[in-house]
Amino acid sequence: MSNAAVEVAGLWAGYNRHTALRDVSFTIEPGCLAGLVGPNGSGKSTLMKVMLGLHQSWRGAVRIFDKDGKEYKGRIGYTPQFELIDWAFPVTAYDVVLMGRYGKLGLVRRPTKRDHEIAMQALERVGMADRRQRGIGELSGGEQRRVLVARALAQESDLLLFDEPLAGVDATAQHDLLRLLEELRVDGQTLFVATHDLSCVAANFDHVVLLNRSVVAFGRAEEVFTEELLSKTFQRHLLVLPGEDRTFVGP
C-alpha cells in the first residue's frame, strides 16, 4: 500500500531488440511538479508511452494512484511531443481541446453541452479562449502549446504527462508555460514533465527523475541537480550556476 501518484518498479522496455529503458524505478508524490530530464534518445517519450499504455513494457510494473496502470488507460492527461503533431490539419483550437473529451464519451456518442463547457473552461484556464476559433496552424508556437495543455486539462485527470512542452518556443512563452504548470500544481494536479532542455527549468521542479536509459537519480530538485549527476546523465561536463530564482546549467 502506497500513496504515491506514480510508482514505477523495475521497468524494462524497448523496440524490437533495442533496449530503451533498463530497470527503471521511481515514485512521484501526488500534487507535485515532477521533471523527467535526460538527453535525446534517453527514453523519456518511451517511458511516458509505457505509463499511458501506448507501448508494451517487457518487464516491471506501473502503478498510478495505487492502481494497476492498465486500469488507468485512457484516463491520464497527456500532450505528445510537438513534432508528432500535424499543424496543417484543418481544425480550430477549440476542436483540438474538445478532443480531450472524446475518449470519455465512448464510441459514436457526440459531445454534450457539459463537454463543451469543460473544453471552454480549459481554454480559459490557459488564456486561449479568445483565440479558440483560430486554425491550429495559425497560432504561434507558444499558443499551440497552450492549446495542447488545455486539451490535457479537458481530460479531467489528476495526473498530467507533458512530453517536451517547452521545446522550441521563445523565452517568454517558456516562462508563461512554466507559470501555468505551477498554477496547475497549486490546484492539486500531479504533473510529470519531460525535457532535455536544462537552460531555464532546473528550479521549477519539485522532484526530478534523471533518466538515461536507466534512472541516474531521482529525488528533490536541489538534491538531484548537482554537477556530478547532471554530467553523468548527459554524458558530458555541465556547469551548474545557482541563480536567484532559477538555476542555469551550461556546458
Binding site: 484543418p90 481544425v91 470519455k104 517568454t172
Partner: protein, 305 residues
C-alpha cells in the same frame, strides 16, 4: 433562349446519360468525403494502389465467371486490409507495404488475363471506366455502398477525426485507433470499388484527391472541406459528362480534367494561399502587427533575456 436550354438539357434527356450522371454524382460525393482523409493524411499512394490492386480481383472474377464488380470490391478491400496489417507490424515502411501488395495483385491480374484468348470489352471498361454503360442495377449497388460509407463516416466522425489528426493522443485517451485506421483503409477500398466503373483504374485517384485538395484551399474545417469537395466533384461530373456528350470524348477523362481545372483555379484564387492573393499584398497590416508584438523569436528573446 430555348436553344441554349436545349443545348444544356440535351445530353441528360437520354436514360443512359441519366444513369451515368447519377452514378458519377454519387461516386464524386463519397470520393470527396473519403478523399478528404486521403489528402490530409498524405495517402494518395494508397488511393492509387487500391484501384490497381483491384485488378487482381477483377481478373479472378473474370476467369471463374463471377461478377466483375464484386471481384473488384473484394480485391480492393483485401489489399487495403493487407496494407494495414503489414504496415502495423512495423517491419517495413508503409509505402513499401503498399507497393508490394498492389504490384502483387496487379501482376496476378495480368497473369490471369494473359491466359485468356479474348480480352472482352468488360475488362477494358475497368481500366478506362465506362460511366455511360452503367445499368440501373449498378446504380442501386453504388447507391447502397455510398450510403453505407457515408453512414460509417457519420457515426464514427469523432473517432476518425481524432485518429487522423493525432493518433498517439487518440490512443492515449482510449479511442480504438487501430480499428479506425483499418476502417479508413476499408472505406478507401470500397470507394475505389464503386468509383472504378465510373472512372476506371487509372483515373480513380484523381477524384479521391483533386476535389478535396481544391476544397482544402478554400476551407478551414474538415466538414467544410468534405462539403466543398463534394460540390466540386458533383460539378465536375455534370460538366464532364456534358463535355463528353458534345465533344464525343471519354467521359471519365473529361470529368477528371474539369476537376483538376477547379483545383488550378482554386490554387490561383484561394483567399489565403492563392497565387493572386500573394501577388497583390506583399506585406499586410497583420504581418506588421505580428512583428511589432514581438512574436518574432529573436525579438521576444531580446526583451526578456
Amino acid at each position: 433562349m430555348t436553344e441554349i436550354l436545349d443545348f444544356l438539357r440535351e445530353p441528360f434527356s437520354l436514360e443512359f446519360m441519366q444513369r451515368g450522371l447519377i452514378a458519377a454524382v454519387l461516386v464524386s460525393i463519397v470520393a470527396a468525403v473519403v478523399g478528404s482523409f486521403v489528402v490530409l493524411k498524405g495517402m494518395a499512394f494508397v488511393g492509387d494502389a487500391l484501384p490497381h490492386a483491384s485488378f487482381g480481383g477483377v481478373a479472378v472474377a473474370f476467369v471463374i465467371g463471377a461478377n466483375l464488380q464484386l471481384g473488384a470490391a473484394i480485391g480492393a478491400l483485401l489489399s487495403a486490409l493487407a496494407i494495414g496489417f503489414i504496415a502495423r507490424r512495423g517491419l517495413v515502411r508503409y509505402d513499401t507495404a503498399i507497393g508490394i501488395i498492389f504490384l502483387a495483385s496487379f501482376a496476378l491480374g495480368i497473369l490471369l488475363v494473359s491466359r485468356q484468348r479474348s480480352y472482352t470489352v468488360d475488362l477494358f471498361s475497368f481500366v478506362f471506366g465506362s460511366v455511360l454503360a452503367v445499368t440501373w442495377n449498378d446504380v442501386w449497388i453504388i447507391l447502397a455502398v455510398s450510403l453505407g460509407i457515408l453512414l460509417f463516416v457519420g457515426l464514427f466522425y469523432k473517432e476518425m477525426l481524432f485518429t487522423a489528426y493525432d493518433p498517439t493522443m487518440a490512443a492515449a485517451t482510449g479511442i480504438p485507433v487501430a480499428a479506425m485506421q483499418y476502417g479508413l483503409l476499408a472505406l478507401i477500398g470500397l470507394t475505389v470499388a464503386v468509383a472504378l466503373q465510373v472512372l476506371g483504374i487509372v483515373l480513380v485517384l484523381a477524384m479521391l484527391v483533386a476535389p478535396p485538395a481544391t476544397a482544402q484551399l478554400l476551407t478551414r474545417s474538415l466538414p467544410a472541406m468534405m462539403a466543398v469537395g463534394a460540390v466540386v466533384g458533383v460539378l465536375s461530373s455534370i460538366a464532364g459528362l456534358f463535355i463528353a456528350w458534345h465533344a464525343d470524348v471519354s467521359a471519365s477523362a473529361a470529368i477528371v480534367l474539369v476537376a483538376t481545372g477547379f483545383f488550378a483555379l482554386a490554387l490561383a484564387l484561394s483567399p489565403r494561399q492563392g497565387i493572386l492573393a500573394k501577388l497583390r499584398q506583399p506585406i499586410t497590416d497583420e504581418d506588421e502587427a505580428e512583428f511589432t508584438n514581438g512574436r518574432d523569436p529573436a525579438e521576444a528573446g531580446h526583451t526578456t533575456g
